[in-house]
Amino acid sequence: MAFPALTFVAVFSLYPAMDSFLLSLYSDFPGPERSFVGFGHYAELLQDAVAHQAFIVTLGFVLFSTALELLMGTGIALVVHERFRGRGWVRAAVLIPWAIPTVVASQMWRFLLNDQYGAINAILFGDRVEAYVPWLADPWMAFGAIVLADVWKTSSFAGLLVLAGLQVIPEETYDAARVDGATAWQRFRYITLPLLKPALLTALLFRTIDAFRVFDLVFVMTQGGPGDATQVIQFYGYKTLFTEGRVGYGTTISVTVFVAMAILSLFYVRTVGSKLLQREPA
């Protein structure tokens, strides 16, 4: 019964991943001159300053965006976990950024940050047009802009994973703490936070893995620029593979990304995923 599903995954995910590895061992362009180069491309990658920069930008993006998303997500979760009238509407409202297509969110932030017509400049500087900042033209600001757009779009996703964690904390624990005279902060620090650890870990891993894949935001907002300031690894791989048509080197980049991700996934399955599997009936 599982056969059709497994066939799909095998043909369009597993085989391509393995084929990428094989392709990375051959010279770049298909045709009669194509030759086996072994790990030659991997040696090239070690020397490629642009690729190093792309890895660093990606890591920076992953680090900043996931940290902020966890923080904002926990805040959102604490708010929508409370009981109040209209809670369903509030939950729907915070989910809307998650549902918006990333491409739309990217165009939106690009326009909000526009150096002439953008709302951000208008809010910060009002009529002082001469003070308007071309945010996306500055390397650091452009990097900040893609982090901001990602945090806006996906904090609520992190939030609802944290919310699921909050929901399994029994109410009595808080009642007991209240009887013992614990303040709101103490209840958060000594009850909520420790019990929330698995959910926070799940959210962190999900967001880390997803942030590694960032592409749409960069493609629409900055095209990797200015310079290479926002060129993330997935965008560099895309350019090498599809714009330059360097199949061998492009797949080398993607396999390297894959290995980094595989280690993370394994870590994920080991620590968090095993919980679900343990509950399987023997």
């Binding site: 369009f12 809307i96 165009q107 017509y117 964690g165 493609f219 599997l277």
Partner: protein, 271 residues
């Protein structure tokens, strides 16, 4: 933990922060060209529909909407038809290596798209699937299957086994037990999986960009990302197209907020 003022400011912050940026973009879509190019910007629009007219007529927006509906709709149907028996088998039957399959699916769901992009492109080139809708639907089904299978497995898990045992005793085969007994009961799970698959396929950009280079076939995200004016950035039209691309999703979220939240956290925490 009822600290009223703190809660109210938290709610306001979360709601305004989530909605305001897009609200401003939506307002932009109802402005006139002069208003869009005003420096500093004008906040309130004239209520003009020129950008919608221009997006629909000159930029052939409906065309992209149709393509997106075809791709997202077909992906959802195929993914569910394929995922349901798989999830049932994983939840109920004694399969060898079951935990490995579930764990493997989770790993596959996490592949960075670039890792499979090159070979997927080559497969489709060989099959003649480039610049076709089915050429995009096939990888989409493969990419959405893991989440759909996980959600459905969790759902089947929670249904009482006794129901099927009764059905078996009455002479139902495994397939009949699935279709006659389990499917109607798992309807909420199916629905959640369908919504999440649809949203994924409606929003996906990377593979759509690679596989569909012919504007005739492109989906909404590709159209919106590559929106070009003749001389200036057509911000008004982009905003109008964005509102149209987002409206169905906002409606889905407003109607099915609870199911979406449960579905997304199903594979992750609930277990």
């Amino acid at each position: 933990m009822t600290n009223r003022p703190a809660l109210i400011s938290g709610i306001l912050l979360a709601v305004l922060g989530s909605l305001c940026p897009f609200l401003w973009f939506a307002l932009t879509s109802f402005k006139s060209q002069i208003q869009v190019e005003a420096i500093p910007p004008t906040w309130w629009p004239d209520g003009s529909l020129v950008f919608y007219a221009s997006a629909l007529v000159e930029h052939r927006l409906l065309h992209y909407v149709t393509n997106s509906l075809i791709v997202a709709g077909a992906t959802t149907v195929v993914a569910l038809v394929v995922a349901t028996p798989a999830a049932y088998a994983l939840a109920r039957l004694r399969l060898p290596g079951k935990t490995w399959i579930l764990g493997g699916l989770l790993c596959v769901a996490m592949f960075p798209p670039i890792v499979i992009a090159g070979p997927v492109w080559q497969i489709l080139e060989r099959l003649g699937g480039l610049n076709t809708h089915w050429g995009l639907i096939l990888p989409y089904v493969s990419l959405t299957l893991p989440l759909a299978v996980w959600i459905l497995t969790t759902f089947f898990h929670e249904l009482p086994v006794e129901l099927e045992e009764a059905a078996r005793i009455d002479g139902c085969t495994t397939w009949q037990a699935l279709y006659k007994i389990m499917l109607p009961l798992a309807a909420p799970g199916l629905f959640t999986a369908a919504i999440l698959t649809f949203i994924y396929a409606w929003n996906e950009f990377f593979f759509a960009l690679l596989i569909l280079t012919d504007p005739e076939r492109q989906t909404l995200p590709v159209g919106i990302a590559l929106f070009q004016g003749e001389f200036i950035m057509p911000w008004g039209e982009i905003a109008a197209a964005s509102v149209i691309a987002t409206l169905p999703l906002i409606i889905l979220v407003l109607l099915f907020q609870r199911g979406i939240i449960n579905g997304l956290s199903a594979g992750a925490v609930k277990g």
